[in-house]
Symmetry: C2
Subunit: 205 residues, 2 copies
């Protein structure tokens, strides 16, 4: 007797066989993000991802040997990229636009998933995801922040001795803290306030 | 036949009967912290706490109807209190001493236990413990910070328009962020750097 389960598996296998490598990989990574947002890290299984991507479990394991590898790759590939911040003529405006980018990354689907994964998984696994937050969100935004501040020094609206590691940490620290502790959603108004009341006084000559 | 288990229980009951309310309560709360630091939130049981406090399970349940109530009380009662910050003559020195207090609370036994509990328990329970971080650590340190900054305005080493909610968030945000993301342990040197490179430039007239 063909059960509905094995019928579904057979359909999945047929669907998988029709797709090329990168297309199938994309479907698996999409299904992983989908699972993360519905059942979370604890509920996510390789089998569930395979079903979601309409493929077999072996097709998933062949590419990613563990759940952790799979989730890291799904998150990394989906995080918004942080490219240049155009020169808006003042450090105030440049910082405002930059913070909006950081907010976009924080509140993107993979951004949410990444934070919830860190809360759910044990501390050893969590380290790998913290590394991903660092390389995928924090370092790119720090790099942009550094550019914006150095541009301000050249322009003359930032004092020359302002740039430094601790100063570059203020924006990500505030954004993480107030979203966690105060439940802030970082509206445009709150971003402008942070720039005007904290960053501009801190940086000005 | 008297088993060793019931003999131990009988001894516990006798020990409990010799102790007055507050003394017994203190023993139960101490045993709770001890359990948290050894077996964590998931491993902690009312029975384990009762054994640790050499009392009966009923004595624990009579005072705290759930594990959650018990743990909240144990953490609350053990967190270091944040009293006044004496006037050290400058906002720089006042802030430095205040940050050392915050660090002490963060890295105290109940401070560590509180953070690990938040990571271990489910999100509904976790909210209650986040409330405890807010009322037991963050709000008291914000209150002191506010006093220190207002004292600086009166003294003249802080500009009058500096005090504000966002400015008061900078120190707790930086302390949380850098301990979580950069693994900083906030040595005295790092605290001094934060005060000199971030807070003093941000607050100065």
């Amino acid at each position: 007797m063909v059960t509905s389960h094995s019928a579904a598996a057979a359909r999945s296998q047929r669907a998988a066989s029709r797709r090329r490598g990168p297309v199938l990989e994309h479907a698996i990574l999409e299904a992983t993000l989908e699972q993360l947002s519905t059942v979370g890290w604890s509920g996510l299984t390789m089998e569930g991802v395979a079903v979601g991507a309409q493929t077999g479990k072996a097709a998933v394991y062949r590419r990613w040997p563990s759940k952790e590898d799979l989730v890291v790759e799904a998150l990394r590939s989906a995080l918004p990229t942080m490219d240049e911040v155009p020169d808006h003529g003042s450090v105030r405006e440049d910082l405002y636009q930059l913070c909006r980018r950081v907010r976009e990354a924080m509140y993107s689907k993979p951004g949410f998933a990444l934070r919830s994964v860190i809360h759910e998984c044990d501390s050893e696994t969590s380290e790998r995801f913290q590394g991903l937050i660092l390389s995928g969100v924090i370092e790119p935004s720090q790099r942009l922040l550094c550019e914006v501040v150095k541009r301000g020094v050249e322009r003359g609206d930032v004092r020359a001795d302002a740039p430094g590691e601790l100063v570059f940490d203020v924006i990500p620290a505030m954004m993480m803290y107030r979203s966690k502790v105060c439940g802030s959603e970082w509206t445009d108004g709150e971003i402008a306030e942070m720039v005007d009341l904290v960053m501009v006084p801190l940086l000005r000559p």
